[in-house]
Symmetry: C2
Subunit: 198 residues, 2 copies
Amino acid sequence: MSAENGTSKRRPGRRPGSADTRGEILTAARRVFAEKGFDKATVRGIAREAKVDPALVHHYFDTKEGMFAAAMQLPITPDEVIPVLLDGPREELGERLVRLVLRVTAAPETREPMVALIRSAMTNDQAAGMFREFITNALLYQVAARLGVPQLQVEAGFAQMFGVIMGRYVLKLEPLASADHEELVELLGPTLQRYFTP
Amino acid sequence: MSAENGTSKRRPGRRPGSADTRGEILTAARRVFAEKGFDKATVRGIAREAKVDPALVHHYFDTKEGMFAAAMQLPITPDEVIPVLLDGPREELGERLVRLVLRVTAAPETREPMVALIRSAMTNDQAAGMFREFITNALLYQVAARLGVPQLQVEAGFAQMFGVIMGRYVLKLEPLASADHEELVELLGPTLQRYFTP
């Protein structure tokens, strides 16, 4: 792999920095993530697929996680979520997480790309693999490690919020779908707090 | 409606009690449930669709809930679940529910019809409506009423177990997918117990 006569091949087929270079990188990223999954996809491989220099990919996207989030049009990246969770009193972490998830999913324009990704993960094995690798490696295992909590507990918390969001916005179960944020924080906060306690 | 010249029309187009009468009723039921939803579907309407006498439908299926479960090939009906939940010490209800859900979903032949129903509810609005009406009216609201617990709390518990089953069997998140039942009972039991406490 590393022995391929690299530099001569690296000449881009399109002008670097052209108006839609970022869009072309994202199109290539979606293709590579779908084909290889999140773990095996590389910035280098995505650059090759987009026919641009890897440095240009790094210019637009700091991390593979950020590129995945952008490619899937996710409104928020793990790099943004994790500090919000950790920043504040540990004993309010459950409540903080519930508020964050409810806030991010309240607006259709931030919710719909996530629901779309989950829908494809529910009905397509390849999409499920991609989603699984992303959600565990980029989010759940990171949170577990930072908090010193077993991964299983973090996944139980993910399952609770996943079920609430699906019940609220996809299945539209009442009264869950109309419940206000404060009511849900009171109901779900202690559950998440317990799962996030070592 | 009730004024239609009923009896003369009720003559079945197929022999009552023929080898696959039950199968024909179920085919008709799937069609009627999909078209009208769970609430508006009636035994009479399903009998008409199947071209059999309503009494014959009642001969095969005691309740509309039972017919829905059979039509969707669900391995268990609310009429069976609710007594299991209520039979036993109230302080072990959370644990009992977790065990029941894990047991019913452990075997592929009982799990897969449920997952199929959920998948279609996640991707199709009509299927979502049918699933929503069934799960709320036939199961969640009944449990809430019998236990004297707010519906929202019962739905939070449903969301927890829905997320666990999807995480375990569809998204296949590790370590959740490989966790054993006892580990999950210990982790999730107290959550359900709290939601099922008035």
